[in-house]
Subunit: 377 residues, 2 copies
């Protein structure tokens, strides 16, 4: 554990929302923040230059995917993931745990780690805590996630407890691995809270990780199919027992109002594939909810996705044109909607941060969540 | 026919290559030039901003495709194709003839025009010379192509002659249609030479179009599956009989050395889908030939596609990274290769122009064509 990399700048008096700074070895990032997801070494359909212009402070890379293809050793020989992918700001890598459990075949979990066949060519592989740390080191990650088991939803108390015990032993091994590494220019290492929907397990997980001691703490096993109240409860049940002076990261979510509600519950960092995934289907985010640009009603709509939005798509292109591109399956369509959606997500969390600093987060939260209509597909 | 929009600046003493300027209602373009193809109102995977940065002077739009979807009336109501697609430099639209003959179903050709069912939803439609001119006017095209019949290859002399006669009658009707339009701010109108592989028909076509009188002349019915010597012959058989003081445009081709050889045969303008189409398959153009980036040999190649190339892909990304993106089917991969390939095409023709102006086109032609290895797939 390095000196605390997190600096608390302001807290919201009416909630647990907080604004801060997180020092990584590639510079400081401002929290709360949203991190675009670059699963395979690229944020889908978006260039590094565009990410810079969007104001992305940090992006994600995926340990499992990059290990399978092109391989972390190849990336290391190419100078690391930053140089390989042309991104010079911080990178956070997830541990690979979630993908091993959701994508790989023929899994067998042992104390050592997870034995599996990868989803591309079936190569037998084992990833355990130490291997995950090695891969993330080889990638050149600036924020490394501990290797965890991510149980499916729903999960009985007995199964979740047994899984959590394993995850905690793995977390300790991850931290022990880093303690044997040179301290110079070491990345930050985050532990991951598990425990499924069980309040006592979330508490136990948070307390135990705090005792091991990490540079920051993530809440995992959320957004895995559970109803939204359970998702919120998973955060609420863990947060009070996490060290208050460290960053908190809710993994893999969520919708815009979910992020605001998570910020109100003390979360600092988010990542989510929704902005780019929905963009590829022609769905844009707006302050009042999602907009399916394929709808016939937009065929002659000469306005932008969102009036006043500063993104490249809204500055130059109409809903009518975007609808045409999406209907015609033109790549420029999903590119432009991806840019808009990432801008929306990054800007939304940045605006929440500004509101915390300005002391009006409660108003912002009430207004935003009140206006946003969640549309179920 | 407007006052001659073409200004001849220089000719190569050893060939028919020439450098000039073409005045359109949206500004002057420098010839020889390469025009990226924006079939459905977007150059595939490339944004208008990127086209500007690539130095594209003019792009193509496709009358048939845009008529079928979203429709020229919708585009006109949105302010025309320039405003609709965010492109403020000149646009050339082809006449739709080629696509009617290659894509549409249940074609029936009459003196009036072509009756067909479109390839998307089978809607019965008729496009003839006047209808094609109306569509191109509604799109807001700056260079309009006459409506022609494009016979398949091979084509007997009898069939090609009959088809050519129809194309010439249609060409006269296109010109007559424009003569009834307001002259203010009128686009340029180009005739299209046909005649298949028959020298006498190419000559007859060129002479007859010259007598009708157009702002410029295209050679069509090339790159339709004929061997390269026939393609060159089609140009050579038409060129001497085209008005020397007007622009010449070879439609839908070709490889880099073909373009240089066409320039040497007096051609000023090119369009081709190869740079973007091959990019989507991971194939990059270089001065020594194409490069299949999927090849295993590039897996650890840290160099750019082309050393010294000024495009965004070559300035920031290695062959190893591009190969990874293409293998992983990431959109950024085909985006970057599309940018490189368009840069290569635009820059190649611009370099040929510079060589003509500098009086060393013959050296340039010999060096370039000599070094370029044509790889058959």
């Amino acid at each position: 554990m390095s000196p605390n990399p997190f600096t608390l700048l302001a807290t919201d008096p009416a909630s647990k929302a907080r604004a801060g700074l997180l020092q990584t070895r590639r510079g400081v990032v401002e929290t709360p923040l949203f991190m675009p997801v670059g699963t395979q070494g690229t944020v889908k359909a978006v260039s590094p230059l565009e990410l810079h212009e969007l104001g992305a402070q940090i992006i994600l890379g995926n340990t499992y995917h990059l290990h399978v293809r092109p391989g972390e050793k190849l990336i290391a020989r190419q100078g690391g993931l930053h140089k390989f992918s042309g991104w010079d700001r911080p990178i956070l890598t997830d541990s690979g745990g979630f993908q091993v459990f959701s994508l790989a075949k023929l899994r067998r979990i042992t104390e050592e780690g997870v034995h599996f066949q990868n989803h591309l060519d079936g190569t037998p592989t084992m990833i355990g805590p130490e291997r995950s740390m090695e891969i993330q080191r080889d990638l050149g990650s600036d924020i490394v996630m501990a290797f965890d088991e991510c149980p499916p939803h729903p999960c009985s108390h007995e199964d979740a407890s047994r899984s959590l015990d394993l995850t905690l032993r793995w977390a300790a091994r991850c931290q022990a691995w880093w303690e044997m590494q040179p301290t110079h220019n070491r990345p930050l290492v985050f532990g991951i809270v598990q425990g499924s929907s069980h309040a006592d397990l979330r508490e136990r997980s948070a307390r135990a990780l705090g005792e091991i001691g990490f540079d920051g703490y993530a809440v995992g096993g959320v957004s895995v199919g559970e109803p939204e109240p359970e998702m919120m409860a998973a955060i609420e049940n863990a947060e009070p027992f996490l060290p208050a002076d460290r960053s908190r990261y809710a993994m893999g979510l969520g919708t815009p109002p979910q992020m605001i509600e998570m910020i109100a519950r003390g979360i600092d960092m988010f990542d989510c594939v929704l902005p780019t995934r929905l963009a590829r289907n022609g769905t844009a985010f707006t302050p009042t909810g999602t907009m399916a640009l394929k709808n016939a009603g937009f065929a002659e709509d000469s306005g932008p996705i969102e009036e006043g939005c500063a993104c490249y798509a809204c500055r130059g292109f109409s809903r009518a044109y975007l609808r045409h591109l999406i209907k015609a399956e033109e790549i420029l369509g999903l590119r432009l909607v991806s840019l808009h959606n990432l801008h929306f997500y990054i800007n939304l969390v940045r605006t929440a941060r500004r509101a915390i600093l300005d002391g009006n987060f409660s108003d912002f939260r009430r207004d935003f969540v009140g206006r946003y209509v969640v549309r179920t597909p």
